[in-house]
Point group: C3
Chain length 210, copies 3
Amino acid sequence: MLRTMEGIESLVYGIGIAGVAAQAAAGVLDAGRKPFDLFGIVVVALAAALGGGTLRDLLLDRAVFWIADQRYLIGAMAAGLATFALVRLVRLPARLFLLPDALGLALFTVSGTQAALALGAPWLVASLMGVITGVFGGIVRDVLCNELPLVFTGELYATASWAGALLLLGLMAHGTSPGQAALAGGSLTLALRLCAIRFGWRLPMFKARS
Amino acid sequence: MLRTMEGIESLVYGIGIAGVAAQAAAGVLDAGRKPFDLFGIVVVALAAALGGGTLRDLLLDRAVFWIADQRYLIGAMAAGLATFALVRLVRLPARLFLLPDALGLALFTVSGTQAALALGAPWLVASLMGVITGVFGGIVRDVLCNELPLVFTGELYATASWAGALLLLGLMAHGTSPGQAALAGGSLTLALRLCAIRFGWRLPMFKARS
Amino acid sequence: MLRTMEGIESLVYGIGIAGVAAQAAAGVLDAGRKPFDLFGIVVVALAAALGGGTLRDLLLDRAVFWIADQRYLIGAMAAGLATFALVRLVRLPARLFLLPDALGLALFTVSGTQAALALGAPWLVASLMGVITGVFGGIVRDVLCNELPLVFTGELYATASWAGALLLLGLMAHGTSPGQAALAGGSLTLALRLCAIRFGWRLPMFKARS
C-alpha cells in the first residue's frame, strides 16, 4: 500500500503515538474509579501508556523511548488530561477505547519484538518482549489501583499479542521481509483481540486444589 | 550564603542522606501497621528511601546511586532500625517526620531534575525525573503494603515537586546559575509542601461516571 | 567433592535452572488461588522465577540473565506449565516445593552476592544483591496477586539469605577461596531456611502505636 519505507515509518510512528494516547485514556478511566487526585490519575495514565515500552527498554539496555523522544510523553499526558476533562462533561462509553487500545497492542507487540530481534535476542525472548511491551503498562495500572491485573483475568489480550509476535518471528525465519512480517503479525494480534472482545474468547482458568 | 561549590555540594550531600533517612523512617511507620516482620519492615523502609532515585538512575542509564556510594544505604538502614526501636519505646507523633520528609522531597526534586538535564534530557522529561525521584519511593512503599498510594490521594506532594522542578528549569532557561535555580526550585517545593500540610491544600479529584 | 571448576560451574548452572523451575512452580500454586487465566498464571510464574535476578542485573547494569541465555526462560515456562497440568490431575502437597525452593534461594543468594562482588560493589551492597536475587521474585508474585508479600510475614526467608551472604563475604575477606565461601554461605542459607520451616522460626514483628 505504502510505497516508501519513510511512509511506513511515519505510519508506525503515528500509530505508536495513538496507541500511547489510547492506553493513557484507558488508564484515566481505570484510575477515575479510585479516590485519586488529578496527579494520581495522570501518573496512572502515564504508567499505563509508557510502562510496557519502558520495561522493554530497561531489559534490553536501550535508551528509554519516551526519554529519547518526549513526544510520546506529551501525547500520553495530553490524552490523559483530555480524557479527564471529557469524562467530567459527557458520559463516554468505556468501549470507545477498545479499538485504539487494540491498535496500540498490535503495534507495541510488533515494535517490541523487532527491537529485541535487532539487538540479537533469541526468538523466545523476542516474542516475550513483544508481549511485555504490549501488556506491562496495563499490569502496572492495575497494581497502582490495588486491583488484580485485568490482563490476567479477561478476554484474550496477551495471548493475542503473543500469537502475533510468534507469527512475525515464524515468517521472518522463512525469509519474509520485516515489513510484511510486521504487517501480518500485527494484523493477527489486532484481529484476535477484536474477535476476543466481540465473542468473549478466554483462556482456561484454574483453581488449584491445594 | 555558602561561598564555595564544595560547601554547597557537601550541604546537598548531607540533606540527601537526611532525606533518605527521613523517608526510611516514614516507611517504617507505614509498614508497622501491617503484620510484617523486622525484615519486611526494613525492606519497605529501603524501598521508600531509595526507590525514587533508583528508578531515576535506571531510566537515565546511570550507575544506581546507592550502589555507587553505600553511605545512602547505611543511612537508610540505620534510620529504619532506629525508628523500629524508638517506636517500641516511645510514642512518636507521626507528624514528626513531615519536615525532614519535605526537605528530602525538595532535594530529591532538585537532584533528579539536574541529573536528567546533565544527561541532555528534554525539559519535560527532566521535570518528570525530579518528580519520580521525589515520589516513586512512597508509591512502592504503599504498593508493598497493599494500599492505594498516598501520593495519589492526600495533600499536594507530587504537585509541589513538579512546581519546583518547573521553576528550576524556567530559571535556568533564562540564564540563572544552576545553584540559584536549584535553591529557588527546592524552596518552592518545600514551601508548597509545608503549606499543603498546614492548610490542607489538595488537587481536584474525580469519579468517572462510566 | 568435584575436582574441576567446570564441574562446579555446571553444578551451579544445573541448580540455577532447578531453582528457577521450583520458584515458577511455587508461583503457579500461588496464582492458582486467584481467578487468573492460563496466561496470568504463566506470567506470575515467570515473575516469581526470574524477578529477583532481573532486578539484580538491572541494578548492576549487567545483561539480564534470561535474555542472554534463554534456557532459564524455557525452564521456568516448562515448570510453570507442567505444574499447571499436574495440579489439574493430582493433588500436590504444597510443601513438596519447599525443598527445591530453598535450594534455589541458597543458590540465588550465592550467585547474586558474587555477581555484585565481581563488579566491585561494596560489601553491604553485595550482600543485599544476594538477598534481592533470592527474594524479589516472591515479592513481585505476591504484589501481582494483590496480597501482602509472604516474604515479609512468614518463617525466616530473607534472613536466611542474608546470613548466608554475610558468611560468604566474611570468609572471602579472610582469604577463603570463592568456591568454598560460596559452599559455606549457600549451606548456611539452606540450613537456616529448612530449620525455619521445620521449627517455625520467625523474626520479631511489631505494630506501630502511631
